[in-house]
């Protein structure tokens, strides 16, 4: 049977070859080059997020498309991991599927370097002064730039900070300083932890470079650690990195929520909103989520800057922003949408329909100078702004490093390396391995790349 099977399979493969050649012969090459129009269909790849699905999409249909009747906007919504894969496929094969892509400061410089994005500063913003790019918050604008030009513009931005229950603190006779240290957080967590009822501090544990590693990286940075030294040698088993990781993992194991290795923003928001966390360290945008979803809890919530150790500040920096792939069709129409969705007028539109406290935060200085916004978001707006302004992705660590990025390393290999390390850390948090074992494996994973690969990358 096996020999005739081999024969049959060979026949099948040969038949496939013949057909493949035929198909290849009559198909035209690759994508259609983009003919630029200022009308037509604009397909936007976005991440699934309430600020987008509940605001940007309906407003696009009710306002933008009426304002520009020749433009039809279609949204393709993905989870974060799927979004990256879809976008990378699209831009690297020039398949012209998306006219607008939602990316962050991780992708923007890398794509710009590869020539995959339109230079928004020279192509569009220069001709459109009303866009007022100088209004964008400087760290955010810098993170989205390459060689001085903007290659994506921000839709919303975030840093990280601490949320705490004012009532629980008062009952325990504790005071949260405006700029706490991690040691203080640990002390507070120990005092407030009630196993089974309230966790002393809720922290991210889900494996993902944008999930648990986002939080852990800020701890590593402020403890004086780094991913790579100036010679691009991985430092994942250095004393500082190990100390920070031990601190983070033990903090979770002792005073954190149970099942932390599956928790990221969404799960922790639910936990905090249901009153199961005395403290929560996460994205600044959580303030908006708490205010809109759990208004009663919002009244009890206090805010503090991201905890530090050896550095002055330690919040992370992220922004979901919109870029236009190089040479895509309908570029001008795409820009009309991009500039609309990231404009000051858009903020006013959101405020009118959903209230000022629901406006996408963290992109423009004018928003934070707006008295109406200051009033509606008085509890968290100032600290959000100060957190973002306090970040410097070009110099994320105590010692100089050859990379940029606070809670990520802006190299192409980080997509997979970050996930590998994140999985090890999640294992340590779950208790299935020790921290030193996890870091040893992580160091091995990082060592599979040569310095030449990482720097040339």
């Amino acid at each position: 049977m096996s020999s005739s099977l081999v024969r049959l399979r060979t026949l099948a493969v040969a038949g496939g070859v013949a057909t493949a050649l035929a198909v290849a012969a009559c198909s035209s090459g690759g994508s259609s080059s983009g003919n630029n129009n200022s009308t037509g269909t604009v397909t936007v790849a976005v991440v699934s997020n309430p600020l987008i699905t509940n605001q940007m999409v309906p407003l696009t249909q009710s306002v933008f498309e009426k304002q520009y009747p020749g433009i039809k906007v279609k949204f393709a919504t993905y989870t974060e991991g799927d979004l990256r894969a879809a976008i990378e496929k699209d831009v690297s094969t020039h398949s012209n599927t998306f006219n607008v892509i939602m990316i962050g400061p991780y992708e923007a410089p890398l794509f710009a370097k590869n020539g995959w994005l339109e230079n928004l500063s020279t192509q569009y913003i220069a001709k459109d002064p009303s866009y007022d790019a100088s209004d964008l918050l400087p760290p955010i604008a810098k993170a989205l730039s390459y060689k001085g030009s903007l290659y994506a513009v921000p839709f919303y931005g975030e840093s990280s900070m601490v949320y705490y229950r004012k009532d629980l603190f008062k009952a325990a006779g504790l005071t949260m300083p405006a700029h706490p240290t991690w040691t203080q957080i640990q002390t507070f967590a120990a005092k407030l932890n009630k196993p089974g009822k309230v966790a002393g501090v809720c922290l991210r544990g889900l494996a993902g470079w944008g999930d648990n590693m986002a939080a852990l990286d800020t701890v590593v940075n402020t403890f004086g650690g780094e991913w790579f030294n100036q010679q691009w040698q991985p430092q994942l088993t250095s004393p500082a990195f190990e100390k920070a990781t031990n601190f983070y993992v033990n903090l979770i194991r002792k005073y954190g929520e149970s099942g932390a290795s599956n928790d990221s923003f969404n799960q922790l928001l639910t936990l905090y909103g249901q009153g199961k966390c005395a403290m929560w360290y996460d994205a600044t945008v959580a303030a908006t989520s708490i205010a809109t979803t759990y208004p009663a809890m919002a009244k009890q919530t206090g805010y503090a800057f991201a905890p530090t150790d050896l550095t002055k500040s330690s919040g992370w920096l992220w922004t979901w922003s919109l870029g236009i792939p190089q040479g895509v069709s309908n570029r001008d129409a795409a820009w009309k949408f991009v500039s609309w969705a990231t404009s000051k007028q858009y903020d006013t539109l959101v405020a009118k329909k959903y209230g000022w406290s629901a406006v996408p935060p963290g992109t423009r200085t004018s928003l934070y100078q707006n008295p109406a916004y200051q009033k509606a978001a008085s509890a968290f707006a100032p600290i959000t702004l100060a957190s973002i302004d306090g970040t410097d992705p070009d110099h994320p660590t105590l010692h100089p490093v050859p990379y940029v990025g606070i809670q990520y390393v802006d190299i192409p290999q980080f997509e997979t390396l970050g996930l590998q390390v994140a999985q090890q850390i999640a294992g340590a948090i779950a208790g299935s391995e020790s921290v030193s074992q996890a870091l040893k494996t992580a160091q091995q994973d990082a060592s599979q790349y040569s310095p030449a690969e990482l720097s040339g990358g």
């Binding site: 099977l5 496939g16 929520e257 149970s258 799960q267 997509e415 090890q424 208790g431």
Partner: protein, 314 residues
């Protein structure tokens, strides 16, 4: 199968063998097969060829420059990768345990459903529903409202038994994922075995009862052998589909914690969606095909009867 029952074995399975295999007769027989055959060849072998082609290329989606030839380098990475070996082992463990447990439960439930009781149709409907639910939906519902350590229904229902806020996906990740696989595929096994049970002729059962055989002995000596081809079919089909299970791993544990639930499809997914390593994934895929063909050839020897015209050994 007609064999074990009456002497109806004299009706051999239908198969009009060609008498004089004239060329015209042979081609007339092939004709109906050709549309499906050609279709499948074109649609599956072309991608396989392209996969083969890319397996010899260095092609990353996050790097400019397209595909460049790099010989067997992808293959050597596959064979020296402990991550690949781990994923392979885990795939085998997950598939084997899910298939075996699902089949055992399937037989048990089929026996239950074969009896008459009030509301039998309703119960059968309830039991088959997990198979009809969208796997992605099932995975997300299990990961969230069911198994959440703080809010999940499972912890709530197990509270009287002393279970206290277990973090299922962190502490028992493999068990949780396999449990969901079993939950979704037991109905499939149940239906197949139920079909077999309902095809069992009642005369032999009556005869056994008259002879004084107990229920257990009847089951062991008469029913199980009758069910054997059904069980084998269920195991074969279940294995083919379960070895490729992906949604549950991705949506429940994302392959973790660590790599505790990373099976082969998820490992490949990481290569494609995180490393953007099209070449490496292609090589891994080709190696997987070769391994699967080897395993399948052995397995099919065991299940040779499924392919026979004639019946089982008596």
């Amino acid at each position: 199968m007609a064999v074990l029952e009456t002497g109806a074995a004299s009706t051999p399975q239908v198969g009009i063998q060609p008498r004089a295999a004239s060329r015209r007769e042979r081609w007339l027989r092939r004709l109906p097969l050709l549309p499906a055959l050609i279709y499948v060849i074109v649609v599956t072998q072309i991608p396989f060829l392209v996969t083969l082609y890319y397996s010899f290329q260095n092609y990353f989606w996050n790097q400019p420059g397209g595909a460049t030839f790099n010989g067997f380098s992808n293959y050597s990475t596959v064979f020296t990768s402990s991550a690949f070996r781990g994923a392979l082992v885990r795939s085998v463990i997950m598939t084997a345990s899910a298939v075996i447990v699902a089949m055992i439960l399937g037989v048990a439930f089929a026996v239950l459903l074969d009896r008459k009781f009030l509301g039998r149709g309703v119960v059968r409907t309830l039991i088959i529903t997990p198979f009809l639910v969208m796997p992605a939906a099932a995975a997300l519902v299990w990961a969230g409202p069911m198994l959440d350590p703080n809010f999940g229904l499972v912890n709530y229902l197990l509270q009287p038994f002393g279970v206290h806020h277990v973090a299922w996906l962190s502490t028992f990740p493999l068990l949780s994922v396999i449990a969901v696989m079993i939950w979704q595929w037991t109905p499939f096994m149940t239906l197949i075995v139920l079909a077999g049970l309902q095809g069992q002729p009642p005369e032999t059962l009556e005869a056994a009862k008259v002879d004084g055989a107990g229920a257990l002995a009847t089951f062991r000596e008469l029913t199980l052998p009758h069910l054997r081809p059904y069980i084998e079919l269920g195991i074969l089909l279940g294995s083919i589909y379960l070895v490729n299970v992906f949604d549950q791993v991705r949506l429940m544990t994302n392959g973790g914690p660590g790599t505790a639930t990373t099976n082969l499809p998820f490992y490949l997914y990481q290569q494609v969606n995180y490393a953007f390593d099209v070449g490496g994934a292609a090589a891994t895929g080709v190696v997987t095909v070769i391994l699967t063909i080897i395993v399948a050839t052995f397995a099919l020897r065991m299940f040779a009867r499924v392919f026979q015209f004639e019946g089982a050994d008596a």
